[in-house]
């Protein structure tokens, strides 16, 4: 199956990924609107959506709702240019801990 990749992030990140060869960039100017854009992108059948951790943290529930049941789309969170945010609980780690029952070193 042919896939579509979209980037939804702040302007500089979008520019960077455009340089890398992803043409479907959706710059987010207003953080409040990001959730709507995200839902829109999912409706448009993008199979891979790259977004920033900041947006991810803000719309955690929306993302979980959109991705937990289905195979596609996959939403990947990356750090933006201000660098990685230190989080006390990485959602991925949390999930692994819940399933296996013990803390695993990443």
């Amino acid at each position: 199956m042919k896939s579509n990749i979209a980037v939804m992030a702040d302007e500089d990140t979008v520019t960077g990924f455009m340089l890398g060869g992803i043409k479907k960039g959706y710059p987010v100017k207003n953080m409040e609107k990001a959730g709507e854009i995200l839902e829109d992108l999912v409706k448009k059948d993008f199979s891979v959506i790259i977004t920033t951790k900041k947006i991810g943290d803000k719309f955690r529930e929306t993302i979980n709702k959109l991705t937990s049941e289905r195979t596609l789309p996959m939403i990947i969170e990356i750090p933006d240019k201000t660098g990685s945010i230190e989080r006390d609980s990485d959602p991925m780690r949390e999930l692994i801990r819940r399933v296996i029952g013990v803390e695993m070193v990443k």
């Binding site: 199956m1 042919k2 896939s3 990749i5 500089d12 520019t15 960077g16 990924f17 455009m18 340089l19 890398g20 060869g21 992803i22 043409k23 199979s47 891979v48 790259i50 991705t67 937990s68 049941e69 195979t71 596609l72 996959m74 990947i76 990356i78 750090p79 933006d80 240019k81 660098g83 990685s84 991925m92 999930l95 692994i96 819940r98 399933v99 296996i100 695993m104 990443k106």
Partner: protein, 213 residues
């Protein structure tokens, strides 16, 4: 808890047979689900091996990419970088397939992003800086890593969901449904035996009274 039974059951032979069938089915289902759970967990551990370090890799390449991008923006100006980015040709080509792990459909991505030469990227050289080339190159690299990471993380999420629900079903069968069925079977057997004994005594009594007459 230990003595819990299914409500509203008549202690008859018919009911007993039915219950025994149900118990057999439950035990069979339980062992099958247990096998499924074990297989899923094994697959989960395999994936966990792959996820190790891949998030760090992505973050490292991205930090470098951002650094180069910022440098390019300083040298050329925001607008010029944007202009160059707009003229880059669409290049990412990813095939998405799926494979099934014990009934869970997980994506398999086949990314075909080979290194592009500078000419293939599609922006002009006249007004662009070397930093821009480096940034573009780094972003290409990180896109590849990001897609791999996405595949792994998605697989983990899907597998985790399935493992959780399978676990719940195994536990429900093991701790609630099977004991309940066992208790009910035992109860009916006891009632039937009791009834037989009662009948036996009754017959003896009748015989005795008939002999006395």
């Amino acid at each position: 808890m230990a003595q819990e039974m299914i409500e509203g059951i008549n202690p008859t032979r018919m009911e007993l047979l039915k219950l025994k069938d149900r118990e057999k089915l439950a035990v069979k289902g339980h062992s099958l689900l247990k096998e499924k759970r074990n297989a899923l967990i094994m697959e989960f551990f395999n994936i966990l091996e792959r996820v190790k370090g891949s998030r760090e890799d992505v973050e490292k390449t991205l930090t470098e990419a951002y650094k180069d991008l910022t440098a390019a923006q300083i040298v050329m100006g925001d607008l010029a970088v944007k202009k160059a980015a707009m003229s880059v040709k669409e290049f990412v080509d990813v095939d998405i397939d799926s494979r099934s792990v014990m009934g869970v459909v997980v994506p398999v991505l086949d990314s075909d992003i080979h290194k592009r030469t500078m000419v293939e990227r599609g922006y002009g050289f006249l007004d662009t800086s070397v930093k821009l080339d480096e940034a573009a190159h780094k972003f290409e690299e990180s896109i590849k890593l990001i897609i791999e990471l996405g595949e792994i993380e998605k697989t983990i999420i899907l597998l985790a969901g399935e493992i959780e629900s399978t676990k719940r079903r195994v536990n429900a069968l093991e701790h609630i449904i099977i004991p309940k069925l066992e208790n009910t079977v035992k109860y009916i057997e006891m009632r039937l035996e009791e009834m037989e004994r009662e009948n036996f005594v009754r017959l003896k009594m009748i015989k005795k009274t008939m002999e006395m007459e």
